[in-house]
């Protein structure tokens, strides 16, 4: 049997990888992908804890997190498309000034 701590460490490492991706990458799409990694890490924690305490609340929360992540990815990508059409660049530093 695998102790709960192992699942939590995996979740922590995945979350940190996602956070590093958001901070260190200079490409809008990769930043969105790193956000998805972070959400997945959190999902893993939820399911592991839910299994530990023997009820289904963990899986329900994961269900909602997945739905919200889908909605956020859709809107985020629409925004990225709009930004790219305007500036022809996917680098977030190209949008650093408040001027459109």
């Amino acid at each position: 049997m695998i102790p709960l701590s192992h699942y939590l460490v995996v979740s922590a490492v995945l979350f940190a990888i996602g956070a590093a991706g958001v901070f260190l990458r200079r490409n809008l799409i990769t930043i969105l992908l790193s956000i998805e990694i972070m959400l997945n890490a959190v999902n893993l924690s939820f399911v592991a804890f839910g299994r530990q305490f023997g009820n289904l609340d963990g899986q329900i929360i994961v269900f909602f997190v997945m739905t919200v992540a889908a909605a956020e990815a859709a809107v985020g990508l629409a925004i990225v498309i709009g930004l790219y059409r305007h500036r022809e660049s996917l680098n977030p530093d190209a949008f650093a000034s408040l001027k459109w």
Binding site: M1, I2, P3, L4, H6, Y7, L8, V10, A12, V13, L14, A16, I17, G18, A19, A20, F23, L24, N27, I29, T30, L33, S34, E36, I37, N40, N43, L44, S45, V47, A48, R51, Q52, F53, G54, L56, D57, Q59, I60, V62, F63, F64, M66, T67, V68, A69, A70, A71, A73, A74, V75, L77, A78, I81, G82, Y84, S89, L90, N91, D93
Partner: protein, 177 residues
């Protein structure tokens, strides 16, 4: 024993794939690596007796969201040399800052691990408490979803509608119908 092997194999694959997602220069490869990571996570969910969540992960994340990402990457076709130029000249990309950033990420891992391991009873094997047959059944999940969490369920459906409308409006060109 095979359980431990499967766990280490799947988590190793998930972590390696995620590290490659943020390490790749080509966004197309990043998307594919993320799909692999999702597959590994689905395997971990199956090991945690959550078959519905595992299949939902494949259907929603790997089957729908990643297709959306793939479409956007393909249609935008942002040239990679652009990013490389920025990367070389941008101050954040100099050696010292990158190493500091990686160090901060490592610090984040250590802090999160320390915080999570302080939870009570965290050394007990998963599935030691509670009724092992109650969790994981789709019937039970559906029942709870429609009784205890029905408000969140309905609110989520409105959220998806708003997101759909928003995405269509935001991605329209000016002058379209």
């Amino acid at each position: 024993m095979p359980e431990t092997l499967i766990f280490w194999g799947l988590s190793g694959m998930a972590i390696l794939a995620s590290a490659l997602v943020i390490g790749q220069r080509n966004p197309m490869y990043s998307v594919l690596m993320l799909i692999a990571s999702f597959g590994a996570l689905a395997g971990l969910y199956i090991q945690l007796d959550a078959p519905f969540v595992a299949v939902a992960q494949i259907i929603i994340y790997a089957g729908a969201i990643m297709v959306l990402f793939l479409f956007v990457v393909m249609l935008l076709n942002a040239p990679q040399e652009d990013a490389a130029d920025w990367d070389r000249t941008h101050p954040l990309r100099q050696r010292g800052v990158m190493r500091f950033g990686a160090l901060l990420a490592l610090l984040l891992v250590l802090q999160l691990t320390w915080a999570l391991l302080r939870v009570n009873g965290v050394d007990v094997p998963v599935a030691a408490q509670g009724d092992p047959d109650a969790v994981g059944s789709v019937r039970a999940l559906g029942r709870i979803l429609f009784t205890d969490y029905v408000f969140a369920f309905e609110a989520t459906s409105i959220l998806i509608l708003v997101a759909m409308v928003g995405a269509v409006v935001l991605a329209r060109r000016e002058g379209d119908r």
